[in-house]
């Protein structure tokens, strides 16, 4: 066992610093040497993290997967390489191997259970077992309310999870365990950690250890380690390198979920190597004070021991990839400065960052799906922590009266309105610090107890702070997923400004405007988003569609160029490029790009939808149908794919089918006025004009700004011979959309029917004026022709003068007059012939 620990720690160290080649090499040696489960898991992790899921899958499969982590990793690999059934059997077992129930899974997977359930939910939703998928997601959320991606997936499946209930700190016994790495070392440790709830009494003795006088600033790493090794139940025995007994580890573990891992792991690593001093020294040598890792750089980091808690909050910063940062960071920050100091010293030792970033990486792996919200909330947490931290550190500084050579890489805590909870925690922090200082100097134990209570209180408050945020965001997201866009915008806009100005929130708001067909506002929001986060890919395909609708070709092509430079392996840049070419009417090229988007990511339903639209534009209707169906296969709630199917059937004149599909789309997105408009048109084509008018009325009620509904209503009224009402509609329409030639064209037709020839011609000439080379030109010519022939039958010589006078009077363009004259003359000559 001696050989394993330093090597394992070395491998984790490599992994945490993204040196995958070394990590793989070492892991392979380790596995060859000790063919244990942990070594297998380590090797698998190395392969998986370096982006080789297939290799990880192969070795895990070949060697068998006894331990839960190995099974979880195997399931992840299988999901990545699209072997869903194997993934499922790895997690749950299949009929042959006694399928496990949810509770079994919880017991077996322990801390990883929440991620296992999330993964399971993904598998179920991909294999169309929606009920089980929702069950799994809910379970995963219950076990770990920080898993935003589970909540998101629930919303995507059409469920209506209650964000208030989902994001509850108290409703779970969840302590984010960061001892995944440590679990390799001692399975017992893992079991210990599972026993869960903090025990005050157990903590106290440990606390006393931490509350012992801090070694001076110049303490070296070894001293720190030695200090740590001193027995927890005895006051500090510097230089004592006794092994820490398991109970203390347990206590430490229980005491501070976040801080624990650092200490515990380091303890674990160090303690297990304790027997072999040489090994330990070697270990230490391996893990000399690490240079500033990204985790360190994030928060103000003072490596001097005097300043408390930078490292532990840092370690927690690593876990800031999880959403627990605010809570835990604050809690650790708020906790005893002593603790933090000693922790900091401890954590300066290498294993801690290794472990933490590793756990951070693990978490970030699971968070793969939801990067941006995590980042956003992580940032939020960071901000909070920096705020707290600067407050606490300053207070601690004062208390300690120790010179600190801080190189504060402090991200300037923005002067944003802090939540009341936070300010409270800051005050409490100060109080605690003072209290702790006093208590430490006098009698450790009482100080420790107050520390403990205060710590827990702050812990809870921070976690609750985050949970409140998640609840707010969750409500907004749920509204959006149900396409209740106005409510979603309202809810999301009521978030505090420092969250409102993040990419994810802006993206959701932009999406809400897009779903409401309010493309101008959506464009504005997306532009702000681009300025805020030019690196963001999520939601860019929606932005490109907005630009497509608004026909902003220049911006589209600029966006396409920027995004393809950014990342060629994501579907969004290719979707944007496709939209760009589609707006230029180069549909074949657009098809190529959408196909590329689909190739890059077969799970992008929207790429399929766009591809379907392009095929429909090039009249390849069968392929269009296939694409839309693919989109629905990937995401049944993709209502624009249902709409696309309806459109294709409408083009093929299969009107009943068209209506069915439009209605299905409407059930998903009930407030879309465009959908209602289309249904109205289809109904009119089916000769159900009354229901058509009703539907159009609904559409107009849903979105008064949609001129198309009025236009269609006017044309239906015209078709039903209700000319005056049609005229009224058209007059209103002229106010709304003064530059649309078809409006005038229709008005002209109505007037013609009513016999107002001069008004009709006036409108026709206006229409032609607005659209001289338009595709509808021939219709106009045809109408003019018919009009003229009608008049020819009734009157003879009067026409030229009658026709010409209004033309001269109304049309502004002399060329138009000539065109009209020419037409009339041509028609007249034809008639003569």
């Amino acid at each position: 066992m001696v050989i394993q620990e330093p090597v394992q720690a070395a491998i984790w160290h490599c992994l945490n610093h993204y040196d995958y080649n070394d990590a793989i090499f070492l892991a392979e040696r380790l596995f060859a040497e000790v063919g244990s489960d942990e070594a297998l898991y380590l090797l698998g992790t190395c392969y998986y993290r370096s982006g080789k899921p297939k290799q990880a899958y192969t070795i895990l499969k070949n060697k068998g997967v006894p331990s839960p982590q190995c099974r979880y990793l195997l399931a992840r690999c299988c999901l990545d390489i699209n072997k869903l059934s194997e993934a499922e059997s790895a997690l749950v077992g299949n009929i042959l191997h006694k399928p496990r129930s949810q509770d079994d899974m919880v017991n077996e997977f322990g801390d990883v259970a929440c991620f296992a359930f999330s993964l399971l939910g993904k598998i179920f939703s991909k294999t169309e077992r929606t009920a089980r998928a929702t069950e799994s997601y809910r379970r995963s959320l219950k076990l770990n309310p920080y898993l935003w991606s589970s909540y998101e997936s629930l919303c995507h499946l059409g469920e209506k999870p209650d964000p208030v209930k989902m994001f509850q700190v108290n409703s779970h016994n969840y302590i984010p365990p960061e001892n995944v790495a440590s679990s390799q070392n001692t399975p017992t440790f893992l079991q210990v950690s599972n026993t869960g709830s903090t025990t005050n009494t157990a903590v106290t003795p440990v606390m006393s250890d931490y509350c012992t006088p801090v070694p001076d600033n110049s303490s070296t790493l070894s001293e720190i380690q030695q200090h740590l090794f001193s027995s927890p139940y005895v006051s500090s025995q510097p230089g004592n390198t006794t092994e820490i007994i398991t109970p203390s580890q347990e206590n430490i573990m229980d005491m501070t979920p976040i801080s624990n891992p650092a200490i515990t792991v380091s303890i674990m690593n160090l303690s297990s190597s304790a027997p072999a001093q040489s090994a330990k020294k070697q270990f230490r040598a391996l893990h000399s004070l690490s240079p500033l890792t990204p985790n360190f750089g994030v928060l103000p980091l003072d490596l001097s021991p005097a300043v408390c808690g930078q490292l532990s909050p840092l370690s927690h910063t690593s876990s800031s990839n999880l959403l627990k940062v605010p809570g835990q960071e604050i809690k650790t920050l708020s906790k005893k400065p002593m603790t933090r100091r000693s922790q900091q010293q401890v954590t300066t030792s290498h294993p801690k960052p290794a472990v933490f970033s590793q756990s951070g990486n693990t978490n970030s792996n699971t968070m793969k799906d939801v990067q941006s919200p995590v980042q956003q909330i992580g940032n939020n947490g960071l901000r909070r922590s920096t705020r707290l931290f600067s407050a606490s550190s300053s207070s601690v500084k004062e208390n300690n009266k120790s010179p600190t050579q801080k190189k504060f890489a402090v991200p300037k805590a923005p002067a944003k309105k802090t939540k009341s909870k936070l300010s409270r925690t800051q005050q409490e922090l100060n109080e605690i610090n003072k209290a702790e200082m006093g208590s430490v100097e006098t009698k450790p134990p009482p100080g420790v107890t107050t520390c403990q209570i205060q710590v827990e209180l702050l812990q809870k408050q921070s976690a609750e702070g985050l949970m409140t945020l998640l609840q707010d965001i969750g409500r907004g997201y749920l509204a959006l997923a149900q396409y209740d866009c106005k409510k979603a915008i309202q809810l999301l806009s009521s978030l505090p400004p420092h969250h409102l100005n993040t990419g994810w929130v802006k993206c959701q708001i932009g999406r809400a405007y897009y779903e409401m067909a309010d493309y101008q506002k959506a464009e504005k929001v997306f532009m702000e988003l681009r300025q805020l986060e030019p690196h963001r890919l999520d939601g860019m395909e929606l932005y490109s569609t907005v630009l497509w609708h608004l026909q902003r070709e220049v911006q589209l092509s600029a966006l396409a160029q920027e995004l393809t430079e950014l990342d060629r392996d994501a579907p969004e840049p290719w979707c944007v490029t496709g939209n760009c070419f589609s707006s230029q009417k180069e549909h074949d090229v657009a098809i190529k790009f959408f196909q590329r988007a689909v190739q890059v990511d077969a799970n992008c339903a929207y790429a399929y939808t766009l591809l379907g639209h392009e095929y429909a534009a090039t009249e390849e209707l069968d392929k269009a149908l296939a694409c839309f169906r693919n989109a629905i296969r990937v995401d049944p709630r993709q209502y624009n794919a249902w709409y696309g199917l309806g459109m294709v059937y409408y083009k093929q004149e299969k009107l009943m089918l068209a209506e069915v599909h439009f209605r299905k789309a409407l059930t998903i997105n009930p407030q879309s006025s465009v959908l209602l408009c289309h249904i109205g048109v289809v109904q009119h084509a089916l000769k159900k004009s009354d229901s058509a008018l009703q539907t159009l009325n609904k559409a107009i009620a849903a979105d008064p700004k949609n001129p198309l509904c009025k236009f269609h209503r006017a044309s239906i009224l015209f078709a039903n011979e209700k000319h005056t009402e049609a005229l009224q509609e058209l007059e209103e329409l002229k106010e709304i959309v003064p530059s649309e030639s078809l409006v005038y064209f229709l008005t002209g037709k109505v007037h013609k029917k009513l016999g107002n020839t001069h008004l009709a011609l006036m409108n026709f000439s206006w229409a032609m004026d607005l659209d001289p080379k338009g595709a509808n030109n021939h219709i106009k010519e045809a109408i003019d022709k018919r009009y003229v022939t009608d008049d020819e039958e009734t009157g003879t010589g009067d026409e030229p003068s009658v026709l010409e006078d209004p033309i001269e009077g109304s049309s502004n363009d002399s060329s138009l007059m000539e065109a009209d004259d020419v037409q009339l003359q041509a028609m007249e000559t034809d008639e003569e012939l």
Binding site: S673, C677, I736, D771
Partner: protein, 183 residues
Amino acid sequence: MKVTGTPDVDPYKGEREGKLREVGNQAVWSLSSCKPGFGVDQLRDGSLDTYWQSDGPQPHLVNIQFRRKMTIQDIGIYADFKTDESYTPNRISIRVGNHFNDLTEVEQVDLNEPNGWVMIPVLDIHQRPVRSFMIQIAVLSNHQNGRDTHMRQIKIHSPVQDISAAKHPSFTSVDMSQYATLR
């Protein structure tokens, strides 16, 4: 009719305006003869550097057969006298019909030292774009009485027909058209 291809004729104009569509991809192309390596692929590869070279007796034929009746508005042929000289087609006959034995000539075009795209409108007796299953482009003679012919590119354009044009009129202003479809 007599046409002279000019460098500034743009075959993509109709497509860009959304009025025409290139439908050659929906057809089966065949040639009366060709030299190995200079066949249909070179004729349809979008590159003006590669060409079809015939290898048999005149008239040289390009047969374009569609799966369904297509409305053809015009045919674009790229011919360049400077590079092809005696291989440049001189007289081209366009025939349409349902199948090989049902072709009738709708257009005969004389090219005089063309140096670019030649767009040949294909209209029936009513001056409307012709509707047929098959088109045959026959090269009746070449410049300088050359035997074989080079043809660099051929494009077939069909008008964009919105079957439901009346029901789904194409709007001219952005304000209306943005509500016209969901995407």
